[in-house]
Amino acid sequence: MPRVVVDVMLKPEILDPQGQAVANALPRLGVSDVASVRIGRRIEIEFTGEPDLDRAREIADKLLANPVIEDFTVRLVEADETADARS
């Protein structure tokens, strides 16, 4: 059964201190060519029946994301892709 994947990211204008902390740690790994890191959240939803993108959008808007500070995208992913969907 396909799943719905919701990606939630802080809006670009909202400071992401977590991402900054990660970016600041990269030079310690010898990585010096990363300009910035932003951290978000990925949520996988499995419906009991057919996946419903509109319903997923409603869930994302009401609960999964806070539209004041976050943007989200909703997409359909085949079940066997979810383990390694690294688009």
Binding site: Q18, N66, I69
Partner: protein, 227 residues
């Protein structure tokens, strides 16, 4: 008749006990409300206490917003019921859209726990009418996600309408925009505050007694309010 002030307990609330104690010290009767019970038991005002409701899962306050008790509180608040959200309670009020903006990770990523000076700027609210405009108070702050953010238009509107209730003085503990520590809604009955007035009501445990003013304010407000 003694005013009855509800204090909600969510799974993960920490400061409901102290909030109820503050209500009692201020001279009102605390009424414990339960997150799963939509009945407000006829209370005259409500405090949403600090803590980590629902483990702060997803976002602070995001799940508490959908608790059965919150539906009743949102409706009653729109009808004028005084509601004070402290720390996690402030986060819940923002998530419930009773207050604008949002509270995000402290800019420096550290949990901050210290006694904090605040300047009270709006004294027309249900929860701050016992203060003088510009009065400085000392109240504990303790949060990891207390950085208040809103878009510039919202911040400008809050300032223009006198809805910034309190600002941090002597250092901003979490990076909140424009040093905002507390705000109110248009009607002035709903206030969200990041620091903890309920921890500053007794000499034995608090850095001052300044927090008591928030709780005596609501009693003054209720006496003056039409029945």
């Amino acid at each position: 008749m003694t005013a009855r002030v509800g204090v909600v307990t969510f799974p993960g609330s920490l400061d409901d006990g102290d909030a109820a104690r503050a209500v009692r010290i201020a001279g009102a009767e605390p009424v414990r409300l339960w997150h799963g019970d939509p009945d407000l038991h006829g209370v005259d005002a409500v405090v949403l206490p600090g803590g980590f409701s629902y483990g702060d899962y997803l976002r602070c306050g995001a799940i508490a917003r959908f608790a059965p008790v919150m539906g009743s509180i949102v409706d009653a608040a729109r009808g004028g019921l005084p509601v004070l959200g402290i720390c996690n309670g402030f986060q819940i009020l923002c998530e419930a859209h009773l207050l604008p903006g949002a509270l995000t990770r402290n800019q420096h990523l550290h949990f901050r726990n210290r006694d904090q000076v605040l300047r009270i700027e709006a004294v027309g609210t249900a929860w701050t009418n016992a203060f003088q405009p510009g009065q400085e108070v000392l109240i504990p702050v303790k949060n990891g996600e207390g950085c208040y953010v809103a878009d510039p238009a919202t911040l400008d509107r809050l300032e223009a309408e006198g809805r910034v209730v309190a600002r941090y003085v002597g250092g901003n503990p979490n990076g909140s925009q424009r040093d905002i520590a507390a705000i109110t809604n248009e009607a002035g009955n709903v206030v969200g505050i990041m620091p903890h007035p309920e921890h500053a009501v007794e000499a034995l445990t608090g850095p001052s007694l300044d927090g008591l003013g928030f709780f005596t304010s609501v009693l003054k407000h209720l006496v003056g309010a039409p029945a």
